[in-house]
């Protein structure tokens, strides 16, 4: 059976997320998940079922995530996962797009008196197991002829704990996380983020290889959200927009054409995703934008029309 | 080597028939060409030196051991590999072991009721009533609710006898039932057995209690080296043994 059939039969989408990373996927005290990665899953659920809550989250460590996806334990992985060639090609996975363009950075303890990554020779570095950051770090230090001691933890939670306990001088991860992780310190002012960015980290949802229909669904739900932002459709005005005579909007919201049917979805999948979850900009602002504790500017994640690189193929 | 013909009514001839029976343990030939016919109501005592195969023989009769050649027919049923036959035969044959082998986790009464309830499917009430009867017969009704561990050896062996009787078996096998007991307890148990013998039950008893043999046995069988060397009524057996081996054995035993 195809993944879509399985999901429909189960009645919910099984989505792999982190075990707790503010802004991306984080449960609150009642176990309700929020975050941009979580919203990406919800949008897919909304598109399939017309219900943004028809989704269950499986918290995974970085180490476990690909195995869980490969085995079929989860239907899609939306866990700030970097798109790389190896992952795409030899792990039997397909990346369905990018929901956040990121890069790797360093969070340091101010006490060590360093203000550039090139001064980190000999540093002890806390890092999460099974990530691209682990690999980039090695590359970077080798290229610069420096040494480092990696302290490898299972979860980002633990890396902060190790950093806070003084086990390491530096914590390295995707830049987007550093701010969030810093906010978990009891004295955030004791740490600072170095200006260096040592890698490209395009993060996005992942599905299993071999089911193109499912691949397309996840991909186009995300594109639909990005297109919605570009077209000015938001969750607030989605109902009004149903009456829009812009053909792009009509196709997006399913009032014209059978775009959904081509994917195996209801034709209003775009409407449901935007109505129930929001367009990409809403998703961003709600979870990681300047008004959130993370306070991240759109930067390169702005639409291409606004000087960023967020660019989705047209719904046509 | 044939039983004297019996003609009284009620006595079924040949309730146990062993014909040309052999048994090996691996390469060791324990029982050699045994032939024996026991009539209903007969009381047989088996004796012989240690290792002569007495226990093995008696255990073959309710198939705790398997024989490899010859026939054993108990109450008309031949003992073969057929599980139904084995079960049927075991129901008719009670066994009393040298070391009692009571179930220590059950009370005396429960020990006695186990087989009636689970094998014979007697209602519990009935089974208990009948068990109490047998416990009275072995003179320990007052111990019914104790655990075996709380009884003396003699009492335990009497419970073992009652337990076997509760199955209402046609045949009772005793394997040295008194040899694990202190002298004073031996008497207790022998008394019960003598009484039982009086009631006309078919009994096969391995024992060296020659007094018992003289009192109750219809026949004494002497085994050595896995063979039946001699069988005779007790009077004859003790006063006028035919075989040299028997004579030697009797000398030892009686001198003791």
């Amino acid at each position: 059976a195809t993944t879509l059939e399985n999901v429909k039969e189960k009645g919910h989408l099984q989505c792999g997320v982190t075990s707790g990373l503010p802004g991306f996927s984080q449960p609150d005290e009642k176990g309700n998940w929020t975050g941009i990665d979580v919203d990406t899953c919800r949008a897919v659920a909304a598109a399939i079922f017309g219900d943004a809550n028809a989704v269950e989250f499986t918290p995974l460590t970085a180490k476990e995530r690909f195995t869980a996806l490969q085995s079929g334990e989860i239907d899609m992985l939306s866990r700030n996962t970097t798109w790389t060639l190896t992952r795409d090609a030899s792990l039997g996975l397909n990346f369905a797009g990018v929901n956040y363009y990121d890069g790797q950075g360093f969070l340091i303890n101010k006490g060590i008196g360093v203000d550039d990554a090139t001064q980190l020779d000999g540093a002890t570095i806390c890092i999460q197991a099974g990530t691209t950051t682990e690999l980039n770090l090695s590359d970077y230090f080798r290229a610069k002829g420096m040494e480092f001691k990696p302290i490898v933890f299972d979860t980002s939670e633990q890396t902060v704990q190790g950093f806070a306990a003084g086990r390491c001088d530096v914590l390295t991860s995707d830049r987007s996380q550093l701010a969030a992780l810093r906010s978990k310190l009891s004295d955030p002012s004791s740490a600072k983020i170095l200006p260096n960015t040592i890698s490209k980290e395009p993060l996005g949802p992942v599905v299993r290889q071999g089911d193109d229909q499912w691949f397309n669904i996840v991909k186009w739900v995300l594109f639909a959200q990005i297109n919605a932002e570009e077209l000015g459709v938001t969750s607030a005005n989605a109902d009004d927009m149903l009456k829009s005579d812009n053909p792009n909007i009509q196709r997006l919201l399913g009032t014209d054409g059978d775009m959904g049917a081509k994917l195996g979805l209801p034709d209003d999948f775009g409407y449901q995703a935007v109505k129930l979850v929001g367009n990409y900009g809403e998703m961003y602002d709600r979870n990681v934008g300047p008004d959130t504790p993370l306070g991240l500017d759109r930067g390169i994640n702005a639409l291409w029309t606004e000087g960023g690189i967020m660019y989705a193929p047209p719904v046509r | 080597m044939q039983t004297p013909p019996k003609d009284q009514p009620g006595k079924k001839p040949g309730i146990i028939r062993v014909e040309g029976m052999h048994k090996w343990y691996g390469d060791f030939h324990v029982l050699k060409d045994l032939n024996l016919t026991v009539d209903q109501g007969e009381r047989i005592v088996i004796c012989g030196p240690s290792g002569s195969g007495k226990s093995t023989f008696i255990r073959c009769i309710n198939r705790l051991e398997e024989h490899q050649q010859g026939k054993i027919i108990v109450d008309g049923i031949e003992l073969t590999d057929d599980v139904r036959h084995i079960d049927t035969v075991r129901r008719e044959v009670g066994m009393v072991f040298q070391h009692f082998n009571l179930f220590p986790h059950l009370t005396v009464l429960e020990n006695c009721c186990l087989s009636p309830i689970w094998v014979r499917k007697t209602p519990r009430k009935e089974a208990e009533a009948s068990a109490m009867e047998y416990l009275e017969r072995v003179k320990i009704p007052d111990q019914a609710n104790k655990f075996p561990g709380q009884l003396s050896g003699g009492q335990q062996q009497r419970v073992a006898i009652a337990r076997a009787l509760c199955m209402k078996p046609k045949i009772m096998l005793f394997d040295e039932p008194t040899s694990a007991l202190d002298p004073e307890m031996i008497k207790e148990v022998l008394d019960v057995m003598i009484e039982l013998a009086g009631s006309g039950m078919t009994m096969l008893c391995v024992t060296h209690e020659m007094g018992f043999a003289k009192t109750v046995a219809d026949r004494v069988i002497f085994m050595d080296g896995g063979e039946i060397v001699e069988q005779a009524p007790p009077h004859e057996f003790f006063t006028n043994p035919q075989e040299a081996r028997t004579q030697k054995f009797l000398q030892q035993i009686l001198a003791h």
């Binding site: 460590t61 334990e73 | 079960d87």
Partner: protein
Amino acid sequence: MMTESTMKAPKKALRPVKWMRENLFSGWFNTVLTLGVAYLLVTSVGPLLNWFFLDANFVGSDPSACTGAGACWLFISQRLNFFIYGFYPDELQWRVDVMFLLLAVSFVPQFIERFPGRKWLGLFGIFGLPIVGYFLIPGGSFGLEEVQSSKWGGLMLTLILAYIGIIASLPIGILLALGRRSDMPIIRGICVVFIEVWRAVPLITVLFMASVMLPLFLPEGVNFEKLARALIGITLWQSAYMAEVIRGGLQAIPRGQYEAADALGLGYWRKMGLVILPQALKMVIPGIVNTFISLFKDTTLVLIIGLFDILGTVQSTVTDPAWQNVAIEGYVFVAFCFWVFCFGISRYSQNLERKLDTGHKT
């Protein structure tokens, strides 16, 4: 000759001095030991006491109330709900409370000699409780609102895992043990391989397989709850240990017992069920209970596969930046919870052992 009544044992004076001389200061070596241990005790008990109680903060409503140099127990009481129920919805927590209550009602009386109907409560605890729990905790039937297993957590999850694991591992262990003692070489072989393989691998590898790899081995579409899979992993793993414990008991039953049962005409299953197993199990109660206790402790490993048992909930909250350095308090709290249960169970087993002893040890 003296008469009995006039002679009393020479006063083995119960005076403390005498007692101390005999138990603490007999010989120079013991004296040194006593003084050393006493010194350690005196120097450590004071600070510990201070930290635990005297300087500790118990009341207040937010982290700022934790001012003292001692423990911040406030942290525990503030988060207690989370530690006990995990993400279980507030308004439905009564369902869990009912289960806690039933659990207490069926097992606490087991510690009280002569409590009327003790046995029945115990039986209910073993057979009835899981059934009640099966309907009550997840809901979804009888008009109860459904609560996904992903919302279960904390102490409640720990108890569910341990409880089901314990109840399931015993029968599986018994079957494996019987299989390993079977006359049939192939059955025996299968059991041996099964037992030895499970016993040889670390539990976390088993849990890893159960939690993220299992669907890979199963036909497409066959799938069940992550919680259930963790449970199956733990149960099978422990039942291998259980099997070995029970085998020890089976081996200790004398051959005469088997023969007597045969002679009474009981078949294989009755022989085992009525005669052999009751004795064997009784004999290995300490081993069984130890296996239970280790299973109970091992449930904490589900944390590694992302389930929030009590340790998981605490672990995830001790890093809360609002509370400074509450790791020790958190871990001490969890340690205390586990200790109470484990110690309770082991005491109970010692009790049971003493009572079940029908005096057949010769």
